[in-house]
C-alpha cells in the first residue's frame, strides 16, 4: 500500500497474495476498502434451493480483455451494508467465451455473498477481477483425469469439461445431495457435450463412496490423475479411500471447498478454537465436580432445598429443555446441512459442557437402578462431548476418530433421552407416599 496500491487487485498483483486460490482476497479488500476490478452486470439464475448460476457481462457490453485458463478463478465483489464483499469463484464457462463469464455460487445460510446476490436485482453492477490461478496446473495434459467431486465442488469439473485446452476428462463421479437436480442437469449437459461418462451418486440414499467403490474405480482407471473437490470431510474420505485402493498419492490432487471468510472471520475462527478449548475444559471441570459430589457423603447438605416439588420440577424442566436443545443441533444438521449446524455447534458444546450444573441442582443422590444409570450416562455423555473431534488436528485421523466417537455419543444421547422420558413418566405416575 505504501507503494501506491489502492485496490485489492492491485495489492494482489503486487504481492502475489490471493493469486493462487483467492481464499484471502476478502482480507485484501477489507485492507484497501476497494476491490478494484472491472464493473460487470450480474444476472442470476436459480439452480437449486441454495445454488445459483451467476453470469457476468462487462458493463459496457464489451468483451473481457483477458481470457482465462481452464481451472482459473475470478474474484467477484458486491457491495452490501458492511462494505465490499469479495469471494473467489471458479469460472465454469469456456475460455473461448470472452463476452461473458459464468460462475456457480452456493449461498450459505447467513453468508454475506449469498445475501448480497439475493438482494441485488437483475443487471446489478458488481466488480470482477481479472482471471487468475490455474487449479489444473499440476495435472498432466498427457494423462486423463478422473474427477471425484461433491456438491458445488463440481465447478472445476465443469470448467475442465468446457475448456478445449483443459485436462482430458476420463470420468466425472459426483456426489450430490438428493441428486441436487440443478447441479445434476448442469453436469450431465457438460459431460454429454464432451462425451464424458458421468456417475452421479445420491449421497442421501447411498452415503459417501465405500472402499469397494474406490477399488473398482482404481482398477477401472489405472494410470490416471485424480482430481478431488468438495467439502473437507468428503475430500479426506476419498483421499484415504484412493490411497487404500493403491492409488499413488502424487496422482491425487485435492481442492477443498470451504466457506470463504468474511472480514471478521479470522479472529472469529481463532476465538472459536479458543472457545472450543474453553468449553471442553469447563465440561471436564464440571464432570470432576460431579464425581466429587457423587463420591463424598457431604453432598447430602443439598437436600434441604432440593426436596421441594417446585425446585425439582423447575430443575427437571431445565434438564428436559437442555436435552431437547441438544437434539436440535443434529436436527438442524440433518435438515439444513453442516454449515447451518456449525453455527449451532458452539452452543451445543457450551450448553453440553454446562449441563452437569443442572444435574447437580436437580439430583439429590446417586439414586438406584435405571435412575442411577441415567445420571451416570448423562455425565458420561458430557465427558464424551469434551473429547470430540476438536481434540484431533489431523483431518484424516479426525475422520477415523469421528467414526468411533459419533456412535458412542449418539447411543448415550439416545439412552439419556429415553431414560429421561421414562423418569418423567415414573415421577408423574408414581407419586410415592401420601402426606
Amino acid at each position: 500500500m505504501a507503494a501506491g496500491c489502492s485496490a485489492a487487485d492491485e495489492l494482489s498483483a503486487r504481492t502475489g497474495a490471493a493469486s493462487y486460490c483467492g481464499a484471502c482476497i476478502q482480507e485484501l479488500t477489507t485492507l484497501t476498502g476497494d476491490p478494484g476490478g472491472t464493473p460487470v452486470l450480474v444476472s442470476i439464475e436459480r439452480l437449486d434451493s441454495d445454488l445459483m448460476v451467476v453470469t457476468l457481462k462487462r458493463a459496457g457490453g464489451e468483451d473481457f480483455l483477458q481470457r482465462h485458463v481452464a481451472g482459473g478463478h475470478v474474484v467477484l465483489s458486491l457491495k452490501d451494508e458492511m462494505g465490499w464483499v469479495s469471494r473467489p469463484y471458479t469460472i465454469t464457462s469456456s475460455p473461448e467465451s470472452v463476452d461473458h463469464r459464468v460462475l456457480v455460487v452456493r449461498c450459505l445460510v447467513g453468508g454475506r455473498m449469498g445475501r448480497a446476490l439475493a438482494e441485488c436485482g437483475s443487471d446489478s453492477v458488481a466488480r470482477v477481477s481479472a482471471p487468475r490461478g490455474d487449479a489444473f496446473v499440476r495435472l498432466s495434459r498427457r494423462r486423463a483425469t478422473v474427477f471425484l467431486v461433491a456438491g458445488v465442488g463440481v465447478t472445476p469439473a465443469l470448467a475442465a469439461l468446457r475448456a478445449g485446452s483443459g485436462p482430458r476428462v476420463a470420468l466425472v463421479h459426483a456426489c450430490f445431495r438428493d441428486k441436487e437436480p440443478g447441479l445434476t442437469r448442469l453436469l450431465a449437459g457438460a459431460c454429454a457435450q464432451r462425451s464424458v461418462p458421468v456417475v452421479v451418486r445420491d449421497c442421501d440414499a447411498l452415503g459417501r463412496p465405500s472402499a469397494t467403490d474406490f477399488t473398482i474405480l482404481a482398477n477401472r482407471y489405472p494410470g490416471v490423475d485424480w482430481y478431488l473437490c468438495g467439502p473437507e470431510g468428503y475430500v479426506e474420505v476419498v483421499r484415504i479411500g484412493l490411497r487404500a485402493a493403491g492409488v499413488s498419492s502424487d496422482r491425487v490432487h485435492t481442492e477443498y471447498f470451504v466457506a470463504s471468510s468474511s472480514p471478521s472471520d479470522p479472529p472469529a475462527a481463532r476465538s472459536r478454537t479458543r472457545a472450543e478449548g474453553y468449553w471442553a475444559k469447563t465440561g471436564l471441570s464440571l464432570v470432576a465436580a460431579w464425581c466429587i459430589w457423587a463420591l463424598l457423603p457431604t453432598y447430602k447438605v443439598w437436600h434441604e432445598w432440593q426436596s421441594s416439588d417446585v425446585w425439582r420440577t423447575v430443575t427437571g424442566l431445565v434438564l428436559v429443555s437442555f436435552i431437547a436443545w441438544q437434539w436440535f443441533f443434529p436436527a438442524v444438521r440433518k435438515r439444513r446441512g453442516g454449515v447451518a449446524a456449525r453455527r449451532l455447534e458452539l452452543w451445543h458444546r457450551a450448553i453440553g459442557a454446562l449441563s452437569p450444573i443442572a444435574l447437580l441442582l436437580h439430583q439429590r443422590d446417586l439414586a438406584y437402578g435405571l435412575l442411577c444409570a441415567l445420571s451416570l450416562l448423562f455425565v458420561a455423555n458430557t465427558l464424551v462431548g469434551c473429547f470430540d473431534k476438536t481434540c484431533i488436528v489431523d483431518g484424516s485421523r479426525r475422520e477415523r476418530y469421528m467414526q468411533f466417537w459419533l456412535p458412542i455419543h449418539v447411543v448415550i444421547s439416545c439412552l439419556v433421552t429415553a431414560l429421561s422420558v421414562w423418569h418423567i413418566i415414573m415421577v408423574v405416575t408414581y407419586q410415592g407416599t401420601a402426606s
Binding site: S49, R177, A373, L406, H409, W422, T429, Y430, T433
Partner: protein, 232 residues
Amino acid sequence: MSRVVFTRSRKRAYGAGVIALVALLALLLWPDAAWLQAAGKATPGHENLQCSACHKPAPGDLRQQLQATLRFLVGLRDSPVSIGNAPVTSAVCYDCHERPTERHPLSLLSELRFLDVQAEHGVQNCTGCHQEHHGVRVTASPKICSSCHAEDSVDDDPIVPDHASLFANGEWGTCLRCHDFHGNHNLSRGDHKFPLTLDEAVSTQGVIDHLGAGKRAYGPVLHPAKNLRSTK
C-alpha cells in the same frame, strides 16, 4: 428444502442408537428386571413384592386423570388428582402388617396432641418412619422417642440404669434395646416382660442391624406380615 448428506458413519451411529433404544425397551418390559425401575432398594422383606402390591391404580382412566389435572392447573378444580397410581397410604401397609398388639397405633399418633411430632416426623403415617425404597427397615432416627417421652417418669423404676438417668443423659439410642416400638416381638427375659439391665438387652449393634437391613435382633415375631407368600 433440500436435505444434506446423511453420511454412512452417521447412519451407523443412529442405527446403533436405535438398537440401544430397543434394548432399553426390552429391559423396561422384562418382568424380572422391574427392580431396576424402583426409586431405590426395597425394604428388607419386600424384595419379592411386585410394584402393584403397594402402588394401586388411581381412580379414573388416564383421560379423566389428565382432564382433572388440567382443570386443577387452570383453577377450575380445587384439588389435584393422581395420574397413573395413587399415593401409597398406611392402609396399604395394613393390608399385610396388621398389629392387634400395636403400642403406637396410628389412631393414637394421629391425635391433635401430637400435632408437633406429626409435623416434624409424619408419625401419623407408617411412612413417617418406614419409607420404602431406602433399603432399610426404619428410616427415622431412634431419637424420635424423645419427641414424646422426654418428660416421662417411671415410678419404682426396676431397671439399671434407671429411665430418669437415661433421659437426663439423652441416651435415646438405648430405648429400642429394651422396647419394641410396635410391640410385635417377644422381648421378655425370664419373668420380666422387658430386660432389666442393658447387659440383658439387645446390643446396640443388634438394634442398628435390625433397623437397617441386617439380621433381626429382637425375639420371635408375634404377628408376621400377611399375604407376602401370595405375591411374587
